[in-house]
C-alpha cells in the first residue's frame, strides 16, 4: 500500500479501486443522495439503496439522479434499516456500508451487535481524520463517536483500532498522543492517569508497531520544552502525532468538528472487523460526504486484500 498522506489521495485511489458495492442506509436527504450520485459518477461505488423507496425516489428526482437501475431494498424504521445494512456487511454480501440521514447511534448499536455475534473481540470506535494544509500526514482524532467516557481498557482498544487503520493506509509506525486537559493545577485528571498507563503498554509493544509520545496537550506537542509560543508561527508536520486519542466523547466530538471553524477537512469512519462503515454527520454536505465515501472505498479494498 502506498502511504496515504492527504484526503485527496483517497479520492485519487478510490477511482482505481472502485466501483465497490456500497449499501446506503436511508439516503432520504438531498445532500446524501447528491453525494451518492457524485460517488457513483466518479466510479467509486455501485449503490444499493436501503430505506423508504418513495422518499429515496423523491430526493433522487430533486438532485436529477436516475436510480431506476440500482438495487433498492425497502425497509422502514431507523434501527431496522441499520440492522439490515450492517448485517449485509458482516455476511459478506458487500464490502462497505454508509449511513444517510439517520442518527449514528442506530448504526453503532447494529455494529456492536454484529461484532458480538462474530465474536471478533473488536471494540467499536470512530476515527475522524483531519487533513491540515501544509501537514505531511493525516491526523486522526479517536474515539469521536461511540465511547462516552472510555476507561483505560477501552482506550487501549480504541488505539488498536486506529493503529490498524494507519497500517492499512501505509504508515508502518504511527505516532500516538493520548490527550488530556492536565494543567499545573486541579490535581491529576483521569485522562492523564490513562496516558500514564497507556504509555507503558505502548512501550511494552501491546499496540503493535506504533509509538506513543510523551505529550498530552497541544502545547506539549507544538511547544515541547519551550515555555511560550513566541516566535512559533509554522506547524511542523513531524511533531504532530498521527493519532490523537481523546479523553471522552464530548471532547472528541467537539474537537474533531472544529473543521466548521478551521482550515481543515474532516473525514470519519468506523473500521469494523468486516469492513469500513461510512458515517458522515447528519450536518455534513455532499462534497464532504463524497470524500468520506472515497476513503471507505480505499480502506475496503485494503481490508479485502488482507483477507485474501
Amino acid at each position: 500500500m502506498t502511504m496515504i498522506r492527504t484526503l485527496k489521495e483517497f479520492s485519487m485511489s478510490a477511482r482505481e479501486k472502485g466501483p465497490k458495492k456500497f449499501a446506503v442506509l436511508a439516503p432520504e436527504d438531498e445532500e446524501f443522495m447528491r453525494a451518492v450520485k457524485i460517488s457513483r459518477d466518479m466510479g467509486y461505488i455501485e449503490p444499493v439503496l436501503v430505506g423508504n423507496i418513495r422518499k429515496m425516489e423523491e430526493v433522487a428526482e430533486k438532485v436529477a439522479f436516475n436510480i431506476d437501475t440500482f438495487q433498492k431494498i425497502p425497509q422502514t424504521g431507523e434501527q431496522a434499516i441499520s440492522n439490515l445494512g450492517i448485517n449485509m456487511l458482516f455476511s459478506g454480501e458487500l464490502p462497505i456500508v454508509g449511513k444517510g440521514q439517520i442518527p449514528t447511534s442506530y448504526i453503532y448499536r447494529s455494529i456492536i451487535r454484529e461484532e458480538a455475534k462474530a465474536v471478533s473481540g473488536m471494540t467499536v470506535s470512530v476515527v475522524s481524520f483531519w487533513d491540515i494544509p501544509g501537514m505531511d500526514h493525516l491526523v486522526a482524532f479517536t474515539d469521536t463517536g461511540v465511547n462516552i467516557k472510555p476507561g483505560v481498557k477501552a482506550k487501549a482498544e480504541v488505539i488498536k483500532n486506529a493503529v490498524f487503520v494507519y497500517h492499512l493506509i501505509g504508515h508502518p509506525r504511527p505516532k500516538i498522543a493520548v490527550l488530556s486537559g492536565q494543567r499545573e493545577i486541579g490535581g491529576t485528571l483521569d485522562s492523564y492517569k490513562d496516558y500514564d498507563i497507556l504509555k507503558k503498554s505502548a512501550d511494552a509493544g501491546e499496540f503493535g508497531e506504533c509509538e506513543l509520545v510523551s505529550a498530552t496537550s497541544f502545547t506539549d506537542i507544538f511547544l515541547g520544552d519551550k515555555n511560550h509560543r513566541d516566535g512559533i508561527t509554522d506547524l511542523k508536520g513531524d511533531g504532530l502525532p498521527h493519532i490523537l486519542v481523546v479523553p471522552c466523547l464530548d471532547t472528541g466530538n467537539i474537537l474533531c468538528k472544529l473543521d466548521f471553524f478551521l482550515d481543515v477537512t474532516r473525514s470519519s469512519l468506523v473500521a469494523t472487523s468486516r469492513g469500513p462503515v461510512c458515517i458522515p454527520s447528519r450536518s455534513d454536505f455532499s462534497d464532504n460526504i463524497v470524500q468520506q465515501i472515497a476513503m471507505c472505498v480505499v480502506l475496503a479494498d485494503e481490508m479485502e486484500k488482507g483477507e485474501q
Partner: protein, 305 residues
C-alpha cells in the same frame, strides 16, 4: 460592541492607568509591562526583591515611566503582600508574575487575603478573534474547573456573561456544548446543557439566550443545525461557548490557537478584582490584549465577579 483586540486596547486606554500588582516579576515581564505602561493602561506595582526588580527596570523602558516597588524578599510573602496591596485600594489588577500558578490560585482562595467572594467560584474565560469572524468569541471554562456541576456551570456562565457585557454584547448568545444536540440521559453534558437552557428561558441569566445541548457543528453553522432540525437564533451566531469539562475546554482553547492560528487573551472571572494568569499558549503580542481586557473589567468598579 468591541469586535477585536484592537478595540479592546483602544477602549481600555481611555480609562487611564490602573494599578497592576505583580509579585516576584520576571525579567521577561518587563517588555510587556513597559509596553502596557507606555500605552497608558497600567501603573505597575512590583512586589519582591527590590534590588533585583530595580535592576530589571533600569534595563527596560519602564525606567522612564511611573512605577512602584515594594520590598518583600521571599516568594510567598511577596504573593501575600501583593494581595494585601490590592485589597487596600479600590480597583487594581493582579498579574501572576514569577509565582507558580497553583500558589496564586491557592492564595486567591485565602479567607483573609483572598479575592473570591463568598459562594462564588473562579473560572477562566478565553477570548478569541476568529480569523474569518466579525466579532470576538468567548470560550469557558478553559483552565480552572475540572468537572463542574450544574450549579458550578451556572456560575461559570454568569462569570462569562459579565465579561461579554463588558465587551458590549448586550444579549449574549450562548452555546452549552455537548457531544450531541439531543438530550441523552447517558451523556451528562447534554443534561446540564438542557438545564442551563431552560434556566435561560426563564430569564435566570437576564438578557442572554442559552441554547443547549448543542454539538459544535450546530453551534458553528446555522445551515448544519437546520439540517439536524435545530432551529435557534444562537446557531451560527454564538458569542459564548460553554464547554462541558476541562479536557474539552483546555484542549479546545489550544486547538483554536495551534490549528486555527488564532490570537487569544483570557482572564480569571469570579474574583473581586481582575486576575491575569500566564498560560504557555498565549503569545507575547497577545499578552498586551490580556492586560487591556483586565483593565476593562477594572473599569467596571471591581464588582464584576
Amino acid at each position: 460592541m468591541l469586535r477585536s483586540f484592537r478595540d479592546i486596547l483602544d477602549r481600555a486606554s481611555l480609562g487611564g492607568a490602573r494599578r497592576l500588582v505583580v509579585p516576584n516579576p520576571k525579567e521577561e515581564d518587563m517588555p510587556l509591562l513597559s509596553e502596557a505602561a507606555a500605552a497608558g493602561l497600567i501603573f505597575p506595582c512590583l512586589v519582591g526583591d527590590g534590588e533585583a526588580i530595580k535592576s530589571m527596570i533600569d534595563e527596560s523602558p519602564l525606567s522612564e515611566k511611573e512605577y512602584e516597588v515594594i520590598e518583600e524578599n521571599d516568594r510567598q510573602p511577596a504573593l501575600n503582600r501583593a494581595l494585601e496591596v490590592l485589597n487596600a485600594h479600590d480597583g487594581g489588577i493582579f498579574m501572576q508574575g514569577g509565582i507558580p500558578i497553583q500558589n496564586v490560585l491557592h492564595a486567591l482562595h485565602d479567607k483573609t487575603r483572598g479575592m473570591i467572594p463568598k459562594g462564588g467560584i473562579m473560572s477562566f474565560v478565553s477570548v478569541f478573534p476568529p480569523l474569518k469572524g466579525e466579532k470576538l468569541i468567548l470560550v469557558t471554562d478553559t483552565y480552572i474547573n475540572n468537572h463542574p456541576s450544574v450549579a458550578e456551570k451556572q456560575q461559570i456562565l454568569t462569570n462569562a456573561l459579565k465579561l461579554a457585557r463588558v465587551l458590549g454584547i448586550k444579549v449574549p448568545k450562548v452555546a452549552a456544548l455537548a457531544a450531541i444536540e439531543q438530550v441523552n440521559p447517558s451523556i451528562p453534558s447534554t443534561l446540564s446543557a438542557a438545564i442551563l437552557s431552560k434556566m435561560s428561558e426563564r430569564r435566570q441569566f437576564g438578557d442572554a439566550v442559552v441554547e443547549g445541548p448543542l454539538d459544535i457543528d450546530c453551534a458553528l453553522s446555522r445551515a448544519a443545525a437546520e439540517r439536524k432540525g435545530v432551529n435557534s437564533i444562537v446557531t451560527g451566531e454564538v458569542d459564548i461557548y460553554l464547554v462541558p469539562e476541562i479536557d474539552t475546554g483546555f484542549l479546545m482553547a489550544e486547538a483554536l490557537v495551534f490549528f486555527g492560528k488564532m490570537k487569544t487573551a483570557g482572564v480569571v472571572m469570579g474574583t473581586s478584582k481582575p486576575v491575569i494568569l500566564d498560560l504557555a499558549f498565549v503569545s507575547r503580542e497577545d499578552r498586551l490584549a490580556r492586560i487591556a481586557l483586565a483593565c476593562l473589567l477594572d473599569g467596571e468598579g471591581g464588582s464584576y465577579g
